[in-house]
């Protein structure tokens, strides 16, 4: 079945004609040549080389100034702010998203409606509007207090002291992020088979355990890729905090650019490269996190890049040996 019929028919004839007969060479199949693919490859390589050459040789980019700015303390301070804002907002946003998703999936129509309204509102309003609105929030509410609803207060905060630029930025981004995270988490939870919920409750597993150990780990398989997408959006979204006078990576470059107008292009390149570095780190982490949560979902785990390289080299060695033998 697996052998083409022609092979068994022609073999005796080939043996009769050629002498001495060599079974291996007689049956060797030459793969199809694909000239179109080679041409396309060559064209792409030429274009890529041209692009790189342009990047390097065009004096407009001022690569010496790029080198000067890349590790300047002002830029690194901005990078640190970007990282801080990203981490806080990602954690708070995800936590809020989980709560919103659970509310949306709950049996209470009020919780469902509130969660839906929240997501609707924060997905509709641009992030920058949220940030600037919060920036002026202290003018609307002078103090924040903790106490009985509509009753006496136990603690009060003076909002102008509480609401530093950092707090405003993190709160704004978290509120925005939570709305998106809620949908990502909800999608993940819905992707878990109903039978899993039934099995967990038939075993009498406590409700919290069911969520933490049975449903959520399985939901993460679909949550992680979507949330990382979201996270990368967030990293770039932090550049908006510049408008609430927080000097993040972009803000630092912008400020330096207004002091040294001739260096705007290299400064933008510095910012670009740093954002590339950040998203690359996130992508690498994503690969390993996804691999972790793939356990049990696929029969075997996808190989790590190192394993792929090793397998590739081993395959190459085998091929070379085979070619040499023939």
């Amino acid at each position: 079945m697996s052998e083409p019929p022609g092979a068994t028919v022609t073999l005796p004839e080939a043996r009769a004609a050629a002498e001495p007969p060599k079974a291996v060479t007689a049956q060797r199949v030459l793969p199809l040549r694909r000239p179109g693919r080679w041409i396309a490859t060559a064209v792409v390589l030429v274009l890529a080389a041209q692009f790189v050459h342009g990047l390097v040789s065009n004096p407009f980019y001022q690569w010496d100034r790029f080198g000067y700015w890349f590790l300047r303390p002002a830029i690194l301070d901005g990078l640190l702010i970007t990282l801080e804002v990203t981490v806080y907002s990602a954690v708070l946003g995800l936590a809020g998203g989980i709560l919103l998703a659970l509310a949306r999936l709950s049996g209470s129509p009020v919780l469902r409606a509130v969660s839906w309204l929240y997501v609707w509102a924060f997905r509709s309003v641009p992030l920058i509007v949220v940030l600037i609105f919060l920036y002026n929030f202290s003018a609307l509410y002078k103090t924040l207090s903790v106490g009985v609803p509509f009753g006496p207060a136990f603690f009060s905060f003076d909002e102008s002291k509480l609401a530093t630029d950092m707090v405003i930025a993190v709160v704004g981004l978290s509120l925005h992020e939570a709305a998106y995270a809620a949908e990502v988490v909800r999608g993940g939870i819905l992707s878990v088979d109903q039978g899993q919920h039934e099995a967990a409750s038939a075993l009498g597993l406590p409700k919290g355990y069911q969520f933490r150990k049975v449903v959520f780990p399985q939901a993460l398989r679909s949550i992680v890729p979507n949330y990382v997408n979201q996270l990368i959006g967030l990293i770039k979204g932090t550049s908006l905090v510049f408008y609430v006078s927080l000097l993040d990576l972009f803000g630092a470059a912008q400020t330096m650019g207004s002091t040294y107008p001739g260096d705007i292009v290299p400064l933008l390149l510095v910012v670009t490269v740093w954002y590339l570095v950040l998203t690359s780190v996130v992508s690498v982490v994503q690969f390993y996190v996804e691999r972790h949560y793939a356990r049990g979902a696929t029969r075997s785990l996808p190989p790590t890049p190192l394993q792929k390289l090793r397998a590739g080299l081993a395959g190459l060695r085998v091929r070379i040996r085979q070619e040499a033998a023939v």
Partner: protein
């Protein structure tokens, strides 16, 4: 299949299951229409019936995965999922129901193993989570039970790396880990390839000889004849007839039972 035939652990007390006048409906569709059934401790009861007859729903009412509109189920005299309040029955809190379910084994048609946990963790999880055993004891019990269903060498595998028959045997071990007094089987072999059915039935047969009350919904008539103490035939949400297999399967009195058996045999 090398399922060793030692008895169920001593602390498992075979349970009496009483189903009393249970009605269940979805909208205007009556799924169960007044079912009464008492299962004695250690008895093996096979429930037969055409699809849509309500047999799976009946099984799911027993561990309160479905709430009956009227009627109640009790196990060893304890009401399941409800408590008496004067003349009425009131549904228990979710936590109380979960505690009751941890004393009732349930085996699903589609196994429903936890795919992200190893075979060993699938079996050991529930006794730990419900506070019945410490982690080391639960793992030891899980190994013993997996040995009993013939899977001692697959403890580290993930469910998707196993065949359907092996997965269902893990699911049975998982149910046994809570040392239930009664185990409910909802068409345990319906999702299996024909050549894998035997290994699962062998494990259930092994359980039938130990003193555990079993309620089994199945289409395997030959198997029912072999292990059942009693066969219950359900159609249209009612029990049509019941009795030992020699009566219900060989000399059915009711027209509908004869009709059903002639189709499946």
């Amino acid at each position: 299949m090398t399922a060793t035939t030692h008895r169920a652990p001593a602390d498992t007390e075979a349970a009496t299951v009483e189903i009393h006048d249970v009605h269940k409906w979805y909208g205007t569709h009556r799924v169960l229409d007044g079912v009464d059934l008492t299962v004695r401790p250690g008895e093996v009861t096979v429930i037969l019936g055409p699809s849509g007859s309500g047999k799976s729903t009946l099984l799911r009412v027993v561990n309160h995965l479905e709430r009956p509109e009227i009627g109640h189920v009790s196990i060893n005299g304890e009401l399941i999922g409800v408590r008496r309040q004067g003349e009425r029955l009131k549904e228990l809190s979710e936590r109380a129901i979960l505690t009751q379910r941890s004393r009732i084994g349930f085996v699903f048609q589609n196994f429903n193993l936890f795919p992200h946990l190893t075979v060993l963790d699938n079996v050991a999880a529930a006794p730990v989570a419900t506070g019945k055993l410490g982690k080391p004891e639960a793992v030891e019990l899980a190994r013993e039970l997996l040995g009993r269903v013939g899977l001692a060498d697959r403890t580290g595998a993930y469910p998707r790396q196993l065949s359907g028959g092996q997965q269902q045997r893990v699911a049975i071990a998982r149910a046994l880990a809570l040392r239930p007094g009664v185990i409910l089987f909802d068409e345990p072999t319906s999702a299996l390839d024909p050549e894998l059915v035997g290994e699962v039935l062998a494990v259930i047969k092994d359980l039938a000889t130990s003193r555990t009350t079993l309620l089994i919904v199945t289409h395997e008539i030959g198997f029912a004849r072999e292990i059942a103490d009693r066969v219950v035939f359900i159609d249209g949400g009612r029990i049509i007839e019941q009795g030992p297999p020699s009566e219900v399967l060989d000399k059915p009195r009711h027209e509908r039972t004869r009709d059903f058996l002639s189709k499946v045999l």
